[in-house]
Symmetry: C2
Subunit: 238 residues, 2 copies
């Protein structure tokens, strides 16, 4: 990880994404003498940023690019817990806990913003906007996690992958204008497999099926949705 010059402004600060909003609220309320409350870093694609049990004084927000949060098991396999998009906190728990209970990797090249935990905590009671931003993130995180849990526990391979696509495309669309249902989508099939609890081989088969049936196509770092209705029918949890 290499530290860059101060204050590359996070492009999502004004969009209301919880992590970025948190950052904004804190900056608004900072006193002039806090020069070092926050710093930016650039990380190359594929690099691990945080490891389970590692301690840090900082709370991180993803500013640009994609990352993912995961558990690494001793037998080598891993579970991806969620994907991090610009404006996301790594985890709401980091505001209270010094140690990560998870690991984080950069999926693409990314920029992250680290804010002093002590700063955030002291603003939490002082500035109501900070608490609100954190609460909002906390709720979103919890809902997403409950939904993924349901997908993994109760649904078939096709349904899980469709669910993942629906969930991610929604989040991507909230961050940037999407034309013709074509979403930037830097995941390899291995990532999809690790997120929904399948093997890459089986993910490949399901994707071929989706392609044949004209539902979605994943290639060249983009996800093209041809038949949203059908995708929603398969992947929706309701």
């Amino acid at each position: 990880m290499q530290a860059t010059s101060p204050c590359v402004t996070c492009p999502h600060r004004d969009l209301g994404f919880c992590g970025a909003l948190l950052e904004k609220r804190i900056e608004e309320s900072r006193s002039p003498q806090d020069a070092n409350w926050q710093h930016y870093q650039t990380v190359t694609a594929g690099k691990q940023i945080a490891a389970r049990n590692q301690a840090s004084e900082d709370v991180f927000v993803l500013c640009s690019g994609w990352g993912f949060r995961f558990f690494q098991l001793p037998d080598g396999c891993r579970q991806i817990l969620n994907f991090l998009l610009p404006g996301d906190l790594f985890s709401a728990t980091s505001v209270f806990e010094q140690r990560f209970h998870f690991s984080v990797k950069a999926l693409t090249a990314i920029q992250i913003s680290g804010m002093r935990r002590a700063e955030i905590q002291s603003r939490l009671t002082a500035n109501p906007g900070v608490l609100t931003a954190l609460a909002k993130f906390c709720v979103a995180e919890s809902v997403a996690s409950d939904e993924l849990l349901t997908a993994l526990g109760q649904r078939s391979a096709e349904e899980r992958i469709a669910y993942l696509f629906l969930h991610l495309t929604q989040r991507i669309a909230a961050r940037s204008v999407i034309r013709e249902q074509r979403y930037p989508f830097p995941l390899r099939q291995q990532h999809i497999a690790d997120a929904v609890g399948l093997t890459p081989v089986h993910v490949s088969r399901v994707l071929s099926l989706f392609r044949e049936r004209g539902i979605v196509e994943l290639s060249g770092g983009f996800l093209q949705v041809f038949n949203f209705t059908e995708l929603a029918r398969i992947g929706s949890l309701n």
Copy 2:
């Protein structure tokens, strides 16, 4: 649900379980005129307490008995998200969100305490102990959910069930003195199945296997652990 006379004291208030602790901190900080900040209810076994999308002015803590939080799918199957033990908040998200994004059922006969959300929110900034208690619950909830997600995504039937047993016995032991590794355990095999994403039939087979191998035995509402080492070897995520 039937309202009972005021102030059946929650027996776990002094044990530091996050929901109960939250209740305690709020009571400590309440002004004398807040007579109606909180109320208790008794619910019979099997009854549904909360439904997805339902709104409530209250935030609930389980005082006695067992409950569970779940998603109901239109095809009839359900995913149990977690089991609620005495001292647990239904969910940390309820402090901020008016509507439940999940449903809740009583597993045994239970007592619940409902606290006005507005009261809690106003105390969050005023009383640092309230925020700390909530943060602690939020972290525990998030860690548990990440672990279960990993178990469902990456592990076999035996491993998932062993994981569930380990997780629950730990939580039970934190609340009451356990002798001879015999834990009160009111779950039916159907509940285990819904929690770890298996069919009741397969749960039955795995439990038979555990019994034959002298690891654990589940019967008569109790879980008896005979070989903790082996159970931990199978179910541990590390």
